[in-house]
């Protein structure tokens, strides 16, 4: 139950772009990776948390922007709908691979560019 709610806290911090809650949810979550023997995440997530905690000192301007919600990506104006940057990239991947893929996008852009110039 506690793991589930920690997970939902992580999701809520991303959706609402709350950087402080994001750090706390990661700190709550890291112990579970040790418990479930997920070695790589157990090794590298503490490093990531350390970097996030030290961000105020090492990169104050960046930390200021992160606290303002710039550590996530937003695709719409709707509240509680921000997504992680890597999730945004996965969605771009899906766009490039699906419905004809990047070649179709390329041809469409060429078609419209040629159409407009004529």
């Amino acid at each position: 139950m506690r793991l589930e709610f920690t997970l939902l806290q992580l999701v809520a911090s991303l959706r609402s772009a709350d950087f402080e809650m994001y750090k706390q949810s990661l700190a709550n979550l890291v112990g579970w990776f040790f418990a479930f023997d997920q070695v790589n995440y157990a090794r590298w997530l503490p490093v990531h948390i350390r970097d996030l905690v030290n961000l105020d000192i090492k990169h104050p301007q960046l930390a200021q922007k992160f606290y303002a919600g710039c550590f996530v990506a937003r695709k719409t104006h709707r509240p509680f709908s921000a997504i992680g940057i890597d999730q945004n990239h996965e969605q771009i991947n899906a766009t490039l691979k699906g419905n004809g893929g990047k070649l179709l996008l390329l041809l469409l852009s060429l078609f419209f560019s040629g159409f407009r110039t004529k």
Binding site: L8, A35, L45, R50, K75, I85, D86, N93, L103, S109
Partner: protein, 325 residues
């Protein structure tokens, strides 16, 4: 500017967010063989054909022993403990007790209404020309850091570049940072681990806990989903679907714990048996029909041989006649 290299082959993508001032229009050419030679992302009618510079297109060889990396300790390494006001359980309780029972909103709706920050800007996203090298190559990752730094210096001078990668790429990037602090040090580039992949790893951890617990059977019997999809949820392969199916029973359980002590008693009676707890959680879902609740209740009583008092409690919680059980 925030950038990330994807784990898939032949891909290097950059996602930029303007932090200080608006970004200029990106004009990018593609140069793979057999394809037309120009692509403009934002303004097709003003496309100018420019060749890719060598410092972008040529990947320099880089040989580093990334397996022998030890991340140095830091003096400022203090993680603040979770405050009581923002603990996960407290937030869930706040959600449930904030409104009367008849007006309980779904979790995303409640959070969207209660969101403190209101953002108006949308993240700008662009795709840079793709590389044929593998993303998990050390040379490619070092070159990606160079490309990102150059792009940031062009778009928004003075900003610290931020690169996001999934766990293997994060480990690689962080190892390169530790081995070459002069070129790619922590003071020059900030590397983040992808939050989506952290969430997926957490869902896999929950799936490990739920495996062989009867959770899949409960979902299938309750007609929430099919067998194959329920098993894929244990691995967290479909994130959104898995999160939905975790939200419903868990919040119903906490709802029953706070607002229906009788139902909570039923759940705590069989708390030791995780399988029956999950069945009860699914059973109390408002999404289930009355017929499904009856079938599920019979299944619980049959499987776990619950006592008569518990049987009455279950019936009262579900507004069923005890005789029908």
């Amino acid at each position: 500017m925030i950038a990330r290299s994807t784990a898939c082959n032949h891909a290097l993508k950059i996602n930029y967010k303007v932090l200080h001032r608006p970004a200029p229009v990106l004009k990018i050419n593609l140069s793979f063989s057999g394809y037309p030679q120009e692509l403009l992302l934002s303004e097709p009618n003003k496309c100018h054909e420019i060749g890719l510079p060598d410092k972008y297109a040529l990947v320099k060889h880089c040989s580093l022993n990334v397996k022998s990396v030890r991340v140095s300790l830091s003096d400022q390494c203090t993680v603040q403990r979770t405050e009581e006001a923002s603990s996960p359980m407290r937030l869930a309780k706040q959600w449930l007790l904030d409104k009367p029972e008849s007006e309980i909103l779904p979790w995303p709706v409640y959070n969207s209404r209660a969101e403190r920050f209101r953002f108006t800007c949308i993240t700008r996203t662009a795709v840079l020309p793709l590389f044929s090298e593998h993303a998990h190559d050390v040379s490619m990752m070092a070159h990606a850091m160079d490309c990102v730094t150059n792009a940031i210096n062009h778009i928004n001078p003075g900003q610290t570049p931020v690169i996001t990668g999934d766990q293997p790429l994060y480990a690689l990037l962080r190892s390169i940072q530790c081995l070459q602090p002069e070129t790619y040090g922590e003071d020059q580039i900030f590397v983040m681990m992808g939050s989506l992949h952290i969430e997926m790893a957490s869902l896999r951890a929950v799936g490990t806990l739920l495996e062989n617990s009867g959770w899949v059977e409960a979902l299938v019997d309750a007609k929430v989903t099919t067998q194959g999809r329920a098993e894929s949820m244990l691995r967290g392969s479909h994130v959104t679907r898995t999160r939905y199916v975790h939200e419903v029973p868990q919040f119903i359980f906490i709802h029953s714990q706070f607002l229906h002590p009788l139902c909570a008693n039923v759940l705590y009676v069989s708390f030791v048996n995780f399988r029956s707890q999950l069945l009860c959680c699914t059973l109390c879902s408002k999404r289930l029909t009355r017929f499904t609740k009856k079938v599920m209740t019979r299944m619980i009583l049959h499987y776990f041989h619950l006592k008569i008092g518990t049987k009455r409690n279950v019936a009262q919680c579900l507004n069923l006649n005890t005789g029908t059980l």
